[in-house]
């Protein structure tokens, strides 16, 4: 019990909260980035443009079938070869955005594909252009179907930020390791605390999505 009281000193908790902030900030930026990029990629893949779509499709398939850890290494060690020097924070954001957008592209593509093709034909027959039909008729319905899959992907993204400790991203996981690395009696208390913190963030997101689903249906 004494270990817990010592472990949860304000200094340690404050340090964990700094890590939590990095985790959340990196996640939010990556979620927005991968949502935008993923939607574009998903639509490109669905619309089936000559040469472009198959090439994009192949790139998506390669990236999404690699471990995220590898993508993180490629970004962190590889970007300087393109002439700029990412901090571990930006390397993580870029890696997460690239990796998760390929996952989201798949969700978007199959979401659109799941909408009855008759709807597109009907809309076109009523004089809407392809783009109008896509934007007003197909996408809103596809979105509704996609929400659960999208949200669980976003939750994965939050959890996956922890992998970036390997390139020393000062996130929640890393900061906990620094704390218990300096005093082994803190190991169990730190694990409990970060498990709770991750759980709260991820669970809050899933509760939010459920209420969103209810409102949309």
């Amino acid at each position: 019990m004494k270990d817990f009281i010592n472990a949860y000193s304000w200094i340690n908790i404050h340090y964990l909260l700094q890590g939590l902030w990095i985790t959340v900030a990196v996640s939010v930026v990556s979620i927005i980035g991968s949502y935008v990029l993923g939607s574009i990629l998903g639509i490109i893949r669905y619309v089936n443009i000559k040469i472009v779509s198959p090439v994009v499709g192949l790139i998506i398939d390669i990236i999404r079938n690699l471990p995220l850890l590898l993508i993180i290494f490629f970004t962190y060690f590889g970007l300087p070869n393109l002439g700029f020097r990412p901090s571990s924070v930006w390397a993580t954001i870029i890696a997460l955005t690239v990796f998760e957008s390929t996952m989201i592209a798949e969700i978007v593509r199959s979401g659109i594909a799941a909408v009855d093709p008759g709807q597109m034909e009907g809309a076109r027959a009523n004089g809407l252009t392809y783009g109008q039909a896509m934007y007003h008729i197909i996408l809103p319905q596809a979105m509704k179907k996609m929400i659960p899959a999208l949200v669980s992907q976003f939750i994965s993204l939050i959890k996956d930020t922890s992998l970036a400790t390997i390139i020393v991203l000062p996130d929640l996981m890393h900061n906990a390791q620094i704390v218990y690395g300096q005093n082994s009696t803190y190991i169990l208390p730190m694990f409990l605390m970060i498990a709770i913190m991750y759980f709260i963030v991820c669970y809050a997101l899933s509760v939010l999505s459920r209420s969103l689903e209810r409102r949309m249906s």
Binding site: R64, L66, P67, L70, F73, F74, L163, A195, Y198, S206
Partner: protein
């Protein structure tokens, strides 16, 4: 790149084998545990439903790395010594089983509830009806999503690198720092992962189309 294969072939092979082994073991056990919790979730017994719900929500919302590190670091302090490979495999199993439980449950729920009622009316017990009527149909629906879970499992097995589990990613780090040829090493490691995941991924897409 050929030099990497040539100089470190043994390590790469070992890593490839460990990654496959750990993924297969974790898949087997997470299938069993996941299906068990999925059945718990649809039983008429409330306490089982609550247990299943808590298990699934907890392990779906905590990073795999935290679970794995917990087994590697905390368990030996209180219970028993556990190798990195075992800790990683246990962590993967628990984490994946929560996802598989969700998949199997939605499979069970997509089977027409009339079937269960019909079977019960014909004198089968709840468990008999579940086992012989509902589950076989449910599993047909969930094969593609389960395949995708297996792909995730293979990719996620890279957390073994954090606990010295001698998997592909671990060997990649060792080779990268030994040869100092980082990018090439990781390209080689990437190719080896793709050998497992890419064909599976295309196969699952084909199955999905066929079943749809």
């Amino acid at each position: 790149m050929i030099a990497i294969f040539h100089n470190y072939g043994g390590l790469l092979l070992q890593g490839f084998g460990q990654t496959l082994l750990c993924s297969i073991i974790a898949l087997l056990f997470s299938l069993i545990i996941g299906s068990m919790f999925a059945i718990f979730e649809v039983t008429p017994v409330k306490s089982l439903r609550v247990i299943a719900r808590v298990y699934i929500e907890v392990f779906r919302n905590i990073p795999l790395l935290v679970i794995t590190m917990f087994f590697y670091v905390v368990i030996p302090m209180f219970v028993t010594k556990i190798s990195g490979f075992a800790a990683g495999t246990v962590g993967l199993t628990i984490y994946t089983s929560a996802f598989i439980a969700e998949t199997v449950r939605s499979g069970i729920q997509s089977v027409d509830p009339g079937q269960m009622e019909g079977a019960r009316a014909n004198g089968l017990s709840w468990w008999q009806a579940m086992r012989h009527i509902v589950l076989p149909q449910a599993f047909r629906y969930v094969i593609p999503p389960l395949g995708n879970q297996f792909i995730n499992l293979v990719k996620n097995s890279s957390v073994l690198a954090f606990v010295a589990g001698f998997d592909l990613m671990y060997q990649g780090n060792v080779i990268a720092s030994d040869s100092l040829n980082t990018m090439t090493t990781y390209v080689v490691i990437g190719i080896l992962y793709l050998i497992i995941t890419l064909p599976l991924s295309y196969w699952m897409r084909y199955l999905e189309k066929k079943l749809a």
